[in-house]
Amino acid sequence: MAETEATPPTSSSPGWLARALDSDIWYSFCRSPLTIASAVLTLLFFLGAAFAPLIAPFNPFDLASIDIMDASLPPFWQDGGDGRFWLGTDDQGRDMWSTIIFGARVSLFVGFASVIFSIIMGVGLGLISGYVGGRLDALIMRIADIQLSFPAILIALLIDGVARSVLPRAMHEELAFYVLIFAIGISGWVQYARTVRGSTLVEKNKEYVQAARVIGIGPTVILLRHILPNVMGPVLVIATIHLAIAIITEATLSFLGVGVPPTTPSLGTLIRVGNDFLFSGEWWITIFPGIALVLLVLAINLLGDWLRDALNPKLR
């Protein structure tokens, strides 16, 4: 836009990249090796998820490539290990390393989708609740209160349980992903709504909003153009931490056997399957997916923790 102006200003502000590199947030990022490490790890997981078919040495879903003769092989450094399968194989002869890459892909996908679902629902309701106020606000917040009395995992379980009995079995398999995303997503909206409502209550009384009203601008535009950008900071922090929680919730549901269908296993499914072999000494089937899950969640949590501190000027 700046280039098309009639009279170019004599000195202009630096571009967004320069401003970003000069910002306090970037500065604090560079000063924290742990944060950089977790950012790199998260990025690796994302890349792994995006390009899983290219990276994984085997396709665990391709029945032709699975040989039951390879079943339950330990990792390569142990006696009886096979160089082809770094982390060993599971009871059906699938390569653990490949199933973990594909499992992380499923976990990340479900986690992301449900966080986005929560954000859209929570931020929307929070904005409306805070700006409109009155009875609508009271109604939304009471619903939020009641929902808060049940942990997310219970709500997700209930929704899954209901879906199970309402949908025919064949369809359930097909829709399992959407049911899961809906269940995890709807169990997380409250926190966004409460935070956004609180910020909106503060922002709507600020004078820049009143200035917009004096100009004559309507509530929808004020909400979207003025208030929304000013309440998104905390949302970003919650979303990061929520992504970690959503991944854990998905893993837990899958572990309990009500999550993703076993044909497309997530990390949680892998741990569940492996759990049955724990007592017979085949620990790798459950421990390696477990380590992958913890690393992924830990990296995201570390990022979220840092982001929260970096965005809170009082802590500096």
Partner: protein, 328 residues
């Protein structure tokens, strides 16, 4: 004070009614209750008769009223799966879950609060950083994975502790307790730690955040400027002010321990309500699901009431404002 508590009880009843409505909706409209109760060989006439007898043809409000009244008495009908009254099933399982939750809650509070206070006061100490890092790992470890790791280590490799069940229990009236036998206590250790760990880290981080917030306030600064020693500022001024917000959220957290027990019970095959519920979901045993839902809401409401009263005791602003406005 009495108005305040009455008001809260009224709100609690509203919450219970809402939850009962959801539970009723589940029971009545998810699947056909008749189909779930009777076998394949029941005739149409028998079904119609049963439907009439159970009052499933009555008006919605009448049905809901009956459901709520029965729920208040603790009656939720028959389990589809076990063919026994749900109330019996719950009564059998309740002690196991409550004992587990109680020990976990105490563990979480007794360890979590001091750690939170310590990390707030010694913000930049080496031990604080260690605690903070451990707490991050704590919230990054899914509960079921903690359980599995404990089982692997102490159960399978070291063989120190039992890996499933409650051990031997002693019956005291209808209540069964594992506290009085050594195998019962041993069985409790791993599940209790598993369940407590996540809450503990949450409580610690919450206390730390609130305390840091309080330590930045003007009255803390003014206290220091009057020469009050750190000990006083930290433990008299700051801690009391920290407790006000902490009580609410901690109450919520502890309430959720009972429901969180689902995962732990499932990992350790702990014979509690959570295990019953997860099996009910697998088998679409709606009456059990509905009863569990109402029961969890009830515990939550009771804990919330206690929290409100505590809040009232701690914060004088509430007391006086109420008294003033009650006057006219």
């Amino acid at each position: 004070m009495i108005t305040f508590i009455l008001q809260r009880i009224l709100q609690s009843i509203l919450v219970m009614l809402t939850v009962a409505l959801i539970a009723f909706g589940l029971f009545r409209y998810v699947g056909d209750p008749i189909n779930n109760m009777v076998g394949q060989d029941t005739t149409i006439e028998e079904r119609v008769e049963l439907r009439e007898r159970l009052g499933l043809n009555d008006a919605f409000l009448v049905q809901f009223g009956r459901f709520a009244a029965n729920a208040a008495k603790g009656e939720f009908g028959y389990s589809y799966q076990h063919r026994r009254p749900v109330s019996d099933l719950i009564a059998e399982r309740l002690p196991a879950t409550l004992e587990l939750s109680l020990i976990s809650a105490i563990l979480a509070l007794v360890v979590g609060i001091p750690m939170g206070v310590y990390t707030a006061i010694r913000r930049n100490g080496a031990l604080s950083h260690t605690f903070m890092t451990l707490s991050l790992i704590g919230i990054s470890l899914p509960t079921f994975l903690i359980g599995i790791l404990l089982i692997l280590f102490f159960g399978v490799i070291l063989r120190w502790l039992p890996t499933f069940g409650r051990g031997d229990v002693v019956e005291i009236g209808w209540w069964t307790t594992g506290f009085l036998t050594s195998s019962g206590l041993k069985s409790l250790i791993m599940p209790a730690i598993t369940l407590a760990l996540f809450q503990m880290t949450l409580i610690m981080r919450l206390v730390r955040a609130e305390m840091l917030e309080v330590l930045r306030t003007d009255f803390v600064k003014f206290g220091r400027a009057r020469g009050l020693p750190d000990r006083y500022v930290h433990f008299v001024t700051a801690l009391k002010n920290t407790l006000v917000p902490v009580i609410t959220i901690t109450g919520l957290q502890l309430g959720s321990i009972i429901a969180f027990a689902i995962i732990t019970e499932s990992v350790f095959q702990w014979p509690g309500m959570g295990l019953l519920f997860i099996q009910a979901i697998g088998e679409v045993d709606i009456p059990v699901m509905a009863a569990y839902l109402v029961l969890i809401a009830f515990f939550f409401v009771v804990i919330n009431l206690i929290v409100d009263v505590l809040y009232y005791v701690v914060d004088p602003r509430l007391r006086v404002d109420r008294a003033d406005s009650g006057g006219h």
